[in-house]
Amino acid sequence: MSTKIFNANDINNGRVVYLAADGSWSERIADAAVVQSAEDEARLQAVADAAFEARRVVDVYAVDVAIEDGRIRPLVYRERIRAEGPSVRLDLGKQSANG
């Protein structure tokens, strides 16, 4: 299976958040739990679904990623933009100094 992480949007501020290994949600992709087995994926999917049911996050889904130089990098452009911010405004989003 491919390498994956789970992401969603925070219910209150709408920001993109990533599911960490301890079940918390972080705004930093570096904190995301990387799943590489079907068992891990099923377990984290259940954690993510529970957070959705608990009305903490919305739009939960898995993202295919690669690990490059120890950093998590989404494979498709859409997810890279979610993880970083608009490519036309480097001063906005997670890529900016204000994160």
Binding site: I11, N13, G14, R55, Y77, R82, G85, P86, S87, V88
Partner: protein, 551 residues
């Protein structure tokens, strides 16, 4: 401008209060996503790639300076210091927090604004010619009827759950600047053989994955019958439009599948049965609304205006701006000044909060406190004395708002694309920026003349690519952004859907392809012939040969 009466204000205030309670329940965990999503969408609150996005209605693109200042404040206080003017004459804010949305709706309600019907399967913000009321040759001011339709369609119980979203546009003059034929219902204000004013009613236009031009349902509907006739058109659509397939649910699919003659017969049959019970539009009500749009207190001005002519003669940069961004006004001594939101290399349609505040100041000082939003993502000062144009231009220039490119190759429509939009397949804005940079030379832009490039980041076509003289559609090709080019689209009264040039291009190859298209046009054009006319005369082949030639 229209001013809310007690009923309008109460409706908007109550809606803001209702949404505050809905947000509270959502944040307290009392409402599920399934329950809350339709509620937030009914108030224009989307969830996009990075955050919630709030789309605020700007009815027929008309704003007061006070309203513009509140938009600037929303950008500053709740967003990231800017807003994005859209191809629906609306404005969007991209970084909204759910918890702030109720306060924003209160701020909007205080200046007679809201975000109702900017989403969902209802009648959306009614759009109109951005030069309404000031254009020479206009039969009547379309804002009067756009406002009447706005009131009629707001929370209309019969038309709040249509098969799909529904867009109406009105214009009172040719050329059509409101893209009337690309709308679900388009209205051309017309005079009949007796000299009476009424409406040609068209239906079945739309872009998206199945672009079609609206066709005439009836040549002439008298003013008094407008709403009752619209109800019959809407009713046939509401009854017969498909609800089983979102991609086939727009009225264009119904009109196309029935054929315009059958569709018309059904509308007329319904109208014959319901016209007496339909919504009336008495002359007194039209006059009441028209009074809000009475012309401002124009001064009587001797023309030519010497100070204006002298400034034009002496200041080359000002003269260039006047040539491209100033439009003839119906009142002697006045002008329509267009503020381009397309600085080369900028983000089409974006304005900072400071710019919005300054534009509000300029509107107060130079244009009777009024601003218009165009569907081409620019802003308009509709009533500027020619004698004030030079001073206005200097102030605009000081705030990066005097780009002299209206209708030129760098005046590009671009949807937010994959940089912001959850539906997009590819980015639009960087493509616009690379083309703008390629054609940065303003003399070259002027030499090329009118050329409308429109870019969409997906087939939903918010960037109107189907009706661009050159259209660019972003697609996802095995995870990579790719761009398909179309030629020959147009959104005016001779509207047409562009034809696909050939195989698509990776992002970095798009500016070269556009340049080859432009060079081909310059080689082939007759004296003074605009791009679209040359294309229509010579067809697509010469362009195709040049763009795809080996080497």
């Amino acid at each position: 401008m229209y001013r809310y009466d007690a009923i309008d204000q109460r409706l908007v205030d109550e809606r803001a209060a209702q949404f505050r309670e809905q947000v509270r329940r959502r944040m307290a965990g009392e409402l599920s996503d399934l329950e809350f999503k339709p509620l937030r969408l009914m108030n224009g609150l989307y969830l996009q790639l990075h955050a919630y996005m709030l789309r605020i209605a700007v009815p027929y693109g008309t704003l007061s300076s006070a309203q513009m200042r509140v938009l600037a404040t929303i950008g500053r206080k709740y967003d990231k210091d800017y807003g994005h003017f859209t191809t629906r004459q609306n404005i969007q804010f991209n970084w909204i927090k759910l918890e702030d949305a109720p306060d924003i709706l209160d701020d909007l309600a205080a200046v007679e604004m809201h975000a109702i019907q900017t989403s969902g399967n209802c009648i959306r913000n009614v759009t109109a010619d951005q030069y309404a009321g000031v254009a020479a040759g206009e039969i009547e001011d379309p804002r009067i009827y756009a406002e009447i339709i706005r009131q009629w369609s707001t929370l209309h119980p019969e038309f709040s759950f249509l098969p799909r979203k529904f867009k109406i546009a009105v214009t009172g003059v040719f050329p059509d600047r409101a893209a009337v034929k690309t709308h679900d219902i388009g209205l051309f204000i017309r005079r009949n053989g007796k000299g009476e004013v009424g409406f040609e009613v068209l239906a079945g236009g739309g872009q998206g994955r199945t672009p079609m031009m609206a066709q005439t349902v009836r040549d002439f509907v008298p003013k008094a019958e407008l709403l009752a006739y619209l109800e019959s058109v809407m009713r046939i659509y509401n009854l017969m439009g498909r609800r089983d397939n979102i991609y086939k649910a727009r009225i264009k699919i119904l009109v196309h599948s029935l054929g315009i003659d059958k569709f018309r017969a059904l509308v007329e049959e319904d109208y014959a049965a319901t016209r007496d019970s339909g919504s009336p539009l008495p002359a007194a009500e039209i006059a009441r609304i028209a009074a809000y749009f009475a012309p401002p207190a124009y001064e009587r001005i001797e023309t030519p205006v010497r100070a204006f002519e002298a400034a034009r003669f002496e200041d080359r940069d000002f003269a260039r701006w006047v040539t491209h961004n100033v439009v003839a006004h119906k009142q002697p001594g006045y002008a329509i000044a267009v503020i381009s939101l397309k600085p080369e290399g900028g983000v089409p349609g974006d304005a900072t909060s400071d710019q919005m505040d300054r534009i509000a100041d300029f509107a107060d000082r130079y244009s009777f406190g009024e601003v218009r939003v165009t569907h081409e993502q620019n802003l308009v000062m509709p009533n500027v004395k020619q004698a004030d144009l030079h001073a206005l231009w200097r102030e605009l220039a000081a705030h990066g708002l005097a780009t002299p490119n209206l209708g030129l190759i760098t005046d590009i429509i671009a949807c937010p694309g994959l940089d912001y939009c959850a539906l997009a397949n590819a980015r639009s804005i960087p493509i616009a920026q690379r083309i703008q940079e390629r054609f940065m030379d303003r003399d070259r832009q002027a030499l090329i003349g009118e050329l409308k490039i429109k870019i969409s980041g997906c087939i939903n076509a918010c960037g109107h690519h189907h009706v661009g003289h050159i259209g660019i559609l972003g697609v996802d090709k095995q995870g990579e952004e790719f761009y398909q080019i179309t030629l020959g689209g147009s959104a005016d009264e001779n509207a047409s859907v562009g034809k696909i040039l050939g195989k698509g291009f990776p992002a970095e190859a798009v500016p070269d392809a556009i340049e080859k298209l432009v060079d081909t046009y310059l080689d082939l054009r007759a004296d003074g012939e605009p791009f679209l006319d040359t294309y229509r005369r010579v067809g697509i082949e010469p362009f195709k040969e040049k763009v795809y030639a080996a080497g």
